[in-house]
Symmetry: none
Subunit: 218 residues, 4 copies
DNA sequence: AATGAATGAGAATTCATTCAT
DNA sequence: TATGAATGAATTCTCATTCAT
């Protein structure tokens, strides 16, 4: 009984936490219930994590780590935004289906009501994708596949926003309902959504007809 | 003491509620604290609202009503998406600046812990804009200013997603920090964001270059 | 609107009180609900009765008054206990059937947990029957129909106890269930109960010391 | 602080509960006050009992258990009702003197407000005595010491009613005052009451004089 | 005098956190 | 070191009573 918590047990605890936080939200999640599900005592939980909040953070980190891991699959060789986006969307759709709790948990983070904390977490979680997306766009601008008057950071932000909502739409109750409202009462198929989103993004990032005719008329 | 609850006081109570819910979230918000801030007794609060949930809904409705009121300013005569979008974005930016708590409260609704309201609220809140945006896009498709292969509902959804994130980015801690991350550490100016978002949308909704060249090659 | 409460309205209020107290018990009875049922405002209720307790007392008195009224029907000419008892039992059985709430209310009184109060009420409510029953027994002793070694007061007390339980058994949930337990699961018929109770009482009051010594002298 | 809840403490808690329920009634009894009196925290109270009702039931059961324990002392060898009754009355008189709160608590059960427990508790509490008393009477009928035209169940019920009132008369405010009223202002001595009650019962259960003379005249 | 909205003390219950074992 | 029982602050909600109208 008095044996040190194994790596595996610790992982199990985090998973139990992710599940509970995803299912009931931070406030309603119960430390006792989490410990119970993980098969450990509340005591150890508090030995490893000073309080509920810090345990929540640990869960967030695990959850986000898993998402990052998934995103590493994207072939960075891709220089065209559309090809890149296609890969990312596919991965996120699969990830959302396989790790619903992770996404719900991620949404919980966005509720954080303390800017010091928010800054720390946002940096930790979003820095990589922020940089990555911005770079892709910058490169695409250089090779002429994305319009040059677009601010790469802001464009990357828009891009990420759409992806974020894509995931929430797959996993979080309110967003699902919202999705349905726009699609005549039922969630659209992943393939259709991806196709439409790609079309939207592709258009967005390239020159619109006016611009063309404008430039053409120069 | 024993002061009659005026219309004004009732409004003040809702505002106090909106503030508390925005600041602390539904679970942590305290009915006693709200009553205290509004300068009324807990008793009346429960006279007017049967429980915390129903008071929360009343706050949400007030908050949403205010947003809808603001959105009514949009000239519906506009048939071009870009002109329409320009107006909507301006209004939302102003609204977010003036009613930060409303937006924070809106974000609160999207939380897991409030899943019990999800379907009901989503319908109530988003139905109007969903229909409106979809219509605008459909019309624009008819007059040839939006590409025809785009599903109007899904496109409207993308559009609304971007607007939603715009607002969260202005009001909610986590989203603000995320914004900063994409913009070199500081929040971008409203004007610049609007300009970029318009550009993004305009391109997105119109024919992409390939399409153009395709058509051009006809 | 601003008219004085009529006699009738006041009576209606007491009846509403009796019903509520009988149905929910003193603690759970709600002054607002009583006022509502009586069609008056809580305000007047408190104008006429200083607090819940004093209103409860007023209800008790009305309720007890009605019982006394019913008991006045007993022909006092009766000198034999059995004949007297027969009449009383019949009246109480009828009264219990017609005024269930009165009996339930009466049981509420017995819960009173303040001896000063208890003394006052007991005196008010039981004094008449106490005297009456004792007298009957005393007379019966004089004319030789009740054994002489019986203390008239104590015997009267036993008699009243049995009548009290009879009524509770007809009206109060716990006592009803208790009744059933002794009678194979269902409440016995009034006629049968009366017959048995009369037999029990008749025997109890008559068998005299002589009989005992008779046996002893055998 | 952080004292382990021993068996003894648990018992103390139940006693504190019995006292509080007896003193103030179920509704007015306060869980916090009970915990305080028992020297434990509200938390543990709720660890052991899911809510106030279930704690109340536990108290009732303890209280009833103690009474049953006491009643086990009765020598069941007794076949004559009078001898049996003598023993039971003695035990109940002693029990009431020593455990006033138990009896007050028992009275609490019979209240309207506790109707929700009525059937369950009545069965649990009274079944044993109901069966026991009925049996005794039935046996006595067989050996000719109790008149045969008496329904054993109903007779047992009358018997138990008298015992019940005996106990309430010793412990509950209202019943005490009522007692006094029948006895010239003061509670009668236990010995005297027992003697009179025995006499009453003995007579009640045996042939009345009329019956005797009736039979004699045949 | 009647009204009923407003008051606020009080009660049950929960659960993050502590600490004796 | 692990355990999980014990703690008690905090929260929601109720309702007898008051008093401005």
């Amino acid at each position: 009984m008095y044996e040190k918590l194994t790596e595996a047990k610790l992982a199990e605890t985090l998973e139990a936490g992710i599940h509970e936080f995803a299912e009931r939200g931070v406030e309603k999640a119960s430390m006792a219930s989490i410990a119970g599900k993980a098969g450990i005592s509340v005591g150890v939980l508090y030995k490893y994590y000073s309080d509920k909040d810090s345990f929540f953070l640990a869960c967030v980190r695990r959850s986000v780590g898993r998402l990052e891991e998934a995103l590493k699959e994207v072939l960075v060789r891709e220089d065209k935004v559309s090809g890149y986006a296609d890969q990312v969307i596919r991965i996120l759709q699969r990830h959302a289906a396989e790790h619903r709790d992770d996404i719900r948990m991620y949404h919980e983070i966005t509720s954080i009501r303390n800017s010091r904390f928010a800054a720390e977490l946002a940096e930790e979680i979003e820095k990589i994708t922020a940089g990555l997306y911005t770079d892709i766009i910058r490169k695409a601008q250089k090779n002429g596949t994305v319009r040059e008057d677009m601010d790469p950071g802001i464009a990357a932000f828009f891009f990420d926003n759409l992806l974020m909502m894509l995931q929430f739409g797959l996993c979080c109750d309110y967003y699902r309902e919202r999705w349905k409202l726009y699609c005549g009462g039922k969630l659209p198929e992943n393939d259709m959504v991806r196709e439409q989103l790609l079309m939207f993004l592709e258009s967005a990032f390239t020159f619109s007809r006016e611009d063309v005719s404008h430039e053409g008329g120069k």
